[in-house]
């Protein structure tokens, strides 16, 4: 049996962050997809198998991060996908505490913390 690639969806309106995370996580063997806002993330999720982790920014055009979380949790196919907030908003982690998400990283996050968080949730989800 071949090992399935663990997949991460990066939802962030910052093009450079999406590109960078795709490069860095890609080099670690993750399959990385990106979406520039919540609406694009929803469109992506409809056409693809559920990812093992969603790294989610909060402040985005069209559909903000917290609104996307609510929609994910209402969808039976996506309700148990781990979501980790990745935001530059100083109050992001306080806000995340009241959201049905698995974790929160405040930008700028260092590489080690990013990788360990991704491994913990994406790998954990992939094994479950």
């Amino acid at each position: 049996m071949t090992e399935r690639h663990r997949s991460v969806l990066v939802v962030d309106d910052d093009d450079d962050i999406r590109e960078l995370l795709a490069l860095v996580l890609g080099a670690r063997g993750y399959e990385v997809a990106g979406a520039g806002d919540g609406m694009r993330a929803l469109a992506h999720l409809k056409g693809h198998p559920p990812p093992d982790l969603v790294l989610l920014d909060l402040m985005m055009p069209h559909l903000a991060g917290d609104d996307l979380v609510s929609l994910l949790r209402e969808d039976p196919a996506l309700s148990d996908v781990p979501v980790v907030i990745l935001s530059g908003d100083g109050a992001a982690c306080e806000r995340a505490a009241s959201l049905p998400v698995q974790g929160c990283l405040l930008k700028p996050v260092n590489l080690r913390d990013l990788l360990s968080t991704v491994e913990r949730f994406a790998d954990g989800h992939a094994r479950s």
Binding site: D16, L23, A27, P108
Partner: protein, 509 residues
Amino acid sequence: MARLGTFSPSAGVAHRLLRLTGRAPPPSETVQTTHQDGLELATAVRAAQVGTFAWDVDRDVVLASEELTRIHGMQESEFAKTFDAYLDLVHPEDVAVVRHVVVEALRRPGPFLFDHRIVRPDGATRTLHTQGDVERDAEGRPHRLIGSCWDVTEPAEARRELERSLSLVRATLEATENGILVVDRAGHVVACNQRFLDLWRIPPAVSRSGEDRKLLAFVRDQLGDPDGFFRKVQQLYASPDAESRDVLHFRDGRTFERYSRPQRIGDEIVGRVWSFHDVTDRERALTAREQFLAIAAHEIRGPLMSIQIAVQSLQEGMMPSEVAPRLLEVAERETTRLGRFVDQLLDVGRLRAGKLELQLDAVDLVDVVRESAAQMRTEAEHSGSAITVSAEARPIGRWDRLRLGQIVTNLLSNALKFGEGRPVEVQIGSLADQATLAVTDHGIGISRDALECIFEPFERRVSARHYGGLGLGLHIVHSLVRALGGRVSVSSEPGLGSTFTLVLPLGGP
């Protein structure tokens, strides 16, 4: 001094007064007074310090009582003997009034009364109150004007002092930024200023009622929490000696500070004073500042993270070699982005302090636009919006090339950010000695409310939940365009897009 002729019986009290002060001839047979009556009345008149006079109109002879000469600070022999001579004793500012009153009294039957000032020989000014009437002949022609007057300087001063105090209170009440309402213990409005009526948008029909109950009913719908508001009002009316300070939030976004304290006369509480201060602008500024700091942190953290991850990835040597140049590219782009961010903040500081220095030179607007559009290529690709430039003319003006480029870049960046991936068009033209530039997007557009403040610093026309950015770009555009002697305007339809139009004089600022 001339003497007055015999009084006719109809002269009444005036006749008696004159006679009793020793200035009238003995009573005729028709005057029904006794010697004893006269003495008593004379004493009463002196005690009352009432002066009397008569003016024989036909002969222009004035007769004054001893008391009247004393009131004027004169000896009997010094007093005016004609009407014009009397006017010389009147305060210059009141001469016209006296003349007018006398002319009217002669013209129309009926008594008259008025106040005027006199100037005594020692220079002292006194105020006199005068009452009188005119005797007429059978044909109704006036032949004598008689009257009495007394010194009302002290009461007049007191009245003027009261008027001054009232005027001071009223002027202060109207000059204050606060809306003031004073209500008595029975719930009647004792006083309020125009500012109060304006702040609460109370129409005259409601304010005229003078009842606090009606004012409260009128303002109810404006409040964000009417029940809480009414609870507090009732609580304060139930505790007459209580003081209170709190904040009121309105449905339309306004914010007032409310201060209330009892009104006292001596130790007695007679009512309650309410003071309202509109702090909407201050609250908005505070919110804008907080939002600015949060967004500034957000705008810095994103690029910092990219640089940090890129650098750490390279340090750890974990990345395939072909990926390294891409990481460096990202790091460089993000460094530039941070640099632009800092420049923007510094520019706003310079613009606000008026310390912007312009390097004016002959600048080709079409060149500047094409250069800016080329610089924005990557941003345009990411946004999905294509930028097209069309030039009907090639205006060359005396401008600052760098600043003009900044204006165009900011407008393009704004159009890409809110353009929803639809095309962005730039049109260049000229009109007489002016260049025109229009940047049009077909994106989310701008609401009417947001249009009003779109060029203000830190104004963000969109929710901070959805769009980053400090809200400085358009403010910088506006300030730079003005510095170049031009103007910028915007037209927009929500959902259809926006056009920003610049007009720049070719001759420069």
